[in-house]
Symmetry: C2
Subunit: 380 residues, 2 copies
């Protein structure tokens, strides 16, 4: 990664308060190593210390930074972060996401691959089981794509199953997506998601509060899950067993003040027991993106989205009902208006073959000739 006086920070990004001498980076990484698993204490110490990580370390009784992270460990941590292009975003920085800062237990330090600004945008979390069914994978991907189309970024945990489907759906929809890791930012777990993680850092961010090199231990995941819901405005649970991490995430999300939604599924499917039980507890169902808008109090936008979708479907249905020749003419004109001769040439048809489908489209009001004699699609 570019610039910086220490190999693992780029002061031009404002990711840490300037000046960012090597000592300050050392202090942040030492605080992370010491207190990443006790973020409440770290936050309190930072606030008592005016945001100075070295002072916070002393307040926590950990001594100076080099007592926590010696020179070799510091060099290794920085090298690991540099290798994956990660940057550091400490608590208190201007770009530190406001929704995380408002939690009782914000991470003292985030390592971010990709664009740290993505963490502060409008985000929806989509979570669920690793052992998902094709139904759950499809539902997660569709919801994520719909939400991306509405300008939401999608947060999830980069796990197999629902998480990966949610990230992919956001990418399908041309949106941003954020993966929160249960391991150090220099690792990707599971390994098979390395290409997905690359695509995500290019279209959003991969983020971790854990020290570089941290393994994906089971104990990390509850901590990780509070960040997934903490970053988002709402959390959608797609597929999960009755007693599962996703249901716990939903409870924590509600405690964080996040809207929680659940995707209904068959009452005889163990993978839908989690969301269905959330529905029993009064959580709103997520049938499509409009439910998320509604949960956020944006009911008019929800209704407008449903109307747009119904309109698009009706249009697609009407076009699908046309003869194949007429559909071919529309497709050719969609690329560019054309005279009759140009159109026949574009299609590779004789002018005689063009006549009937074109007449049908003109009578139907779908195609009209402009003053220059070019055929154009009439906007509907």
């Amino acid at each position: 990664m570019p610039g910086g006086d220490d190999g693992c920070l780029d002061p031009r990004d404002g990711l840490v308060a300037l000046p960012a001498p090597r000592a300050r980076v050392h202090a942040w990484l030492a605080l992370q190593a010491h207190a990443a698993f006790d973020p409440v204490a770290a936050r309190a110490a930072l606030e008592r210390s005016g945001g100075d990580p070295a002072a916070a370390l002393r307040a926590l009784g950990a001594g100076p930074p080099h007592a926590v992270l010696d020179a070799a460990a510091l060099a290794a941590a920085c090298a690991a972060l540099v290798r994956v292009g990660a940057r550091l975003l400490p608590y208190g920085a201007a770009l530190y996401p406001a929704r995380l800062a408002a939690l009782a237990d914000p991470p003292p330090l985030l390592a971010v691959r990709g664009d740290p600004r993505a963490l502060g945008g409008p985000l929806i979390a989509i979570v669920g089981a690793r052992l998902a069914t094709p139904y759950g994978v499809g539902a997660a991907r569709t919801l994520a794509r719909q939400l991306a189309g509405l300008g939401f970024g999608i947060v999830s945990g980069l796990a197999r199953g629902i998480d990966a489907a949610a990230h992919r759906g956001a990418l399908d929809g041309g949106g941003r997506t954020i993966g929160v890791l249960g391991c150090g930012a220099d690792r990707v777990y599971p390994r098979e998601h390395e290409a997905l993680a690359e695509a995500m850092s290019a279209a959003g961010a991969i983020v971790s509060e854990l020290p570089p090199g941290a393994a994906p231990l089971k104990m990390h995941f509850p901590l990780r899950n509070r960040l997934i819901s903490g970053l988002a405005e709402a959390v959608v649970v797609v597929e999960a067993k009755a007693h599962s991490g996703s249901r716990i995430t939903a409870e924590h999300a509600a405690e964080q003040g996040r809207e929680v939604l659940a995707v209904p599924g068959p009452i005889d499917a163990p993978t839908s027991a989690g969301p269905n039980l959330l529905l029993r507890d009064g959580v709103a169902p997520a049938l499509d993106a409009s439910d998320v808008l509604r949960a956020l109090g944006r009911s008019e936008e929800a209704e407008a989205w449903l109307r747009r979708r119904a309109g698009a479907r009706a249009g697609a249905d009407a076009e699908a009902a046309l003869a194949p020749e007429a559909r071919a003419v529309l497709a050719a004109l969609r690329r560019q208006p054309a005279t009759r001769d140009e159109l026949a040439a574009r299609l590779g048809w004789t002018p005689a073959a063009l006549a009937a489908p074109l007449l049908a489209l003109e009578l139907d009001g779908r195609v009209a000739e402009d003053r220059a004699g070019r055929l154009r699609i009439v906007p509907r």
Copy 2:
């Protein structure tokens, strides 16, 4: 059918107020023929006329009974009802179901095959699409069986799909079930449900407010649906399209003050769009029978039912984990306690073959020898 002075009423059942002379039956059938499609007017006329159907007919401007139903039509109606063993239950009779009498539009006259007392018990309606999926059919049947086990009768419309599955589930569970017809009580629609209808009249009732001979016309079904929900304490919608009769039934049921529940299903299944949209509108999800109890304000019974089910499953799981020989021994002893020799003979095993599985069951506390030397299953 037995008794009666007119061939279609049995005064001993108290189904009409005594005395029930032929003239009174004539008046009820004439009122039904005149006013079955305007039950609000029929009720008002009956109440103004002190419950006398002939006076109600006059109040409705229909003239005397023979002006509405001539002698030949009366004889035909009675013969049709007698042929299927139907009895008449007029508005105001002691056995007329209280929940129907409390509606704004109770039917003036019901024809009942089976036990009219079944109409007054605790009833749950289960409704849904004719074109149901295997998922919906299974869910309806399971819910009906669970509810029958809790002492509820199941009301539905005897249609293909969800209705038939609900009736069958109630029969599976040894419960009562009630079919409300959209045609005269002397007919069964669809014809393929004639055997089901027979079984239902033996374990509940088939009921219609329509005149004998009435065909299953589309216009009858909204009327019929108000009786399905009107008879029940709660209505469960299983599978239905987004714009469907079942959703309208749910709306009417809510207007009647009935609890409404919906069975969640996949968000990409058109057959689950109806119930899922009801969930969006705030209707409670029906995952199992406990949700119905909860909707009726019987939360403690709901929790007790869930605990019993969890206990039964744990027991079944533990038994399934036993060796096949041990399971065979348990099955043999479940029929009747036995000495070791009797048990070996019952299983067709040598005493030596019996020794190991029996010892395992004794050590596990599942089987014990009583004072008479007979092996018995230990109640758990």
